[in-house]
Symmetry: C2
Subunit: 341 residues, 2 copies
DNA sequence: CTGAAAGCGCTTACAG
DNA sequence: CTGAAAGCGCTTACAG
């Protein structure tokens, strides 16, 4: 085989010449337009395969005004990229856009780089974007909405805004955790929450409280965390201290993220509390720490791949019909039972 | 702000009209061609900012024959995407290509989908590709070389071929591990290797043996693993059994991947061997299991981000000058000391 | 230093 | 059902 890059790629023009038809006809068969005569189509198809033709995407983009690519935007923090969540999103998105011939472009918003993302869309390098891990202060969602560019969020926005998003039913997830603790015989439950200025933090706490009430359990211990391992450890220390003061123990603990749970576990152990014998622990996320830590965590799992696939579908639809109203889809979480609870 | 997507984007043409110059001149200032008169340049720059012009990439690509995008190709296995290694690669690549205005496109090779990757490059949707996690049977590297398309491998190819790659000095990494075990007082060392049909498996074993010889240690126990957790557990069982038969213990263990180490650790513990008191363990990769497992692993770390940045640089260079000879760059590993060894 | 013009490789009304 | 032609928005020799 000769150097494909040296010799100029085959163009429509050449295929047309070989097939003895016009460029328009070749274009029609390439794009599967139905109105082409059977025999002509076959002639063209043969010409395509003998010449090894493959369409130039830039040329097509120029006239169709479609980039044929969508962006996956993450905040520029190492943390995010190393989180397996990111890979699960990619694994969910790829299978839906691949058959459509759409590429997935990865971007991070470096400090002050929000403009770049908007520009990428305006330059028609991207038909739309999926935003994951956006936090409250992030101006990007609003920037994109104001520019009327197709965008889908990976979670309910912090402040209500007219935007398409996909989320898991956070409250229901917390409910699953409490139901499980109760089913395992827990009577006094506690929780380490996420940051309460984040929707996920709020919703998981709300779901927790609702489930506690539903089961008729006594007033639970509640300590706020921040989704970090250290935050989980600190909250756990507060919890065991409070326990001493109140003179009442807890036998079930719902931690609003696995990462916080990995911080809390050693604290409980050092305090003489065995997991799951003395206190049963349930996390949230089913992230990799959940399976690596000791004991492995019973945890609430989000169907991330399914959610990501849905985000891709919604985005593609918005690209196609920008005028359609925004929508949101909420997925049901599941419980993964391991040894901690 | 009005809907940017409804109104047609501003073109060069309009900027030219506003500035009262030709399209060629606007193009020159946009592309930073030095020969433009100072004053004219300023007029044009003002026109650009008042119109909010941003160049259409497809149009530019069409004439420059550059996609302005490179691909990151991974095998289509869930495993790969969930591996934090993947995120580290992305984190390394992005900062080098971003300032160049180059996009990073993610692709997996679904079964029989190698052709697609080649096509993406031939369609000029991708200027070149970075291949990670390619295994011996993967036909893609050869396919790309034969098509003379710019490609960089994330590791030394299984079989020698004229290809640009970046790797870590695997043997040196194993040497680091042995040096550390010896420094900690180990006298009889053992190893669980990677699959010996993979370069990484071979090189780490070679480095291990060389270091053992260098330190004048007795003949070590060697059991082959396969880089999986279960493989690590199986190998560890073999090791403790062999230990019994031979009547000789080992007090230091080098496991050629962290994941295998997480499988081996419980086996050692169940066999009454305390880590690190009875046997010190060193892993390889510094992957997330290394920090999550109990005890946290002392391990050999690859400078993945630096390596990925170098891959990006090499690829961009190859895109620019396809005629240049292939090259390879080897990075030095470091040792991360935790509690296991 | 600047502009007129050709051309990159497609798609898509518009005729026929 | 098919083709001639215009046009998508740029860059780049080529003159001047």
């Amino acid at each position: 085989m000769k150097a494909d890059v040296d010799r100029r790629p085959v163009t429509l023009e050449e295929v047309a010449r070989v097939a003895g038809v016009s460029r328009a006809t070749v274009s029609r068969v390439v794009n599967g337009v139905a109105t082409v005569d059977r025999e002509l189509r076959q002639v063209v198809e043969k010409a395509i395969s003998t010449t090894g033709y493959t369409p130039n995407r830039a040329a097509r983009s120029l006239v169709t005004r479609r980039a044929g690519a969508i962006g996956l935007v993450l905040p520029d923090e190492g943390r995010t990229l190393h989180d397996p969540y990111f890979g699960r999103v990619v694994a969910g998105v790829l299978p839906v856009i691949r058959p459509l011939g759409v590429q997935l472009v990865l971007t991070t918003t470096d400090p002050g780089g929000h403009r770049e993302v908007v520009d990428d869309v305006r330059q028609r390098r991207l038909d739309g974007v999926i935003l994951i891990h956006t936090h409250g202060a992030d101006p990007l969602p609003r920037l994109l909405i104001e520019s009327n560019l197709p965008v889908v969020l990976a979670a309910r926005p912090v402040r209500p805004m007219p935007i398409t998003y996909v989320d898991v039913d956070q409250a229901a997830g917390a409910g699953l955790a409490v139901d499980h603790l109760v089913a395992r015989g827990c009577r006094r439950v506690a929780t380490i929450t996420g940051p309460l200025d984040a929707p996920a933090g709020q919703d998981r706490l709300r779901g927790f409280r609702e489930a506690v009430a539903r089961h008729g359990l006594p007033e639970p211990l509640v300590v706020e965390g921040d989704f970090s391992r250290e935050g989980g450890a600190a909250a756990a220390r507060e919890l065991v201290a409070a326990e001493g003061r109140a003179g009442e123990g807890f036998d079930g603990l719902f931690v609003a993220s696995d990462l916080m749970a990995t911080g809390a576990l050693p604290v409980l152990r050092n305090h003489g509390l065995r997991v799951p014998e003395d206190v049963k622990v349930v996390g949230f996320d089913d992230s990799s720490p959940a399976v690596e830590c000791d004991p492995p965590l019973t945890t609430v799992r989000q169907p991330v791949e399914d959610m990501a696939a849905e985000m891709a579908r919604l985005l593609v639809e918005r690209v196609e019909r920008p005028d359609r109203p925004v929508s949101s889809v909420v997925f049901a979480p599941t419980l993964v039972v391991r040894r901690s609870g």
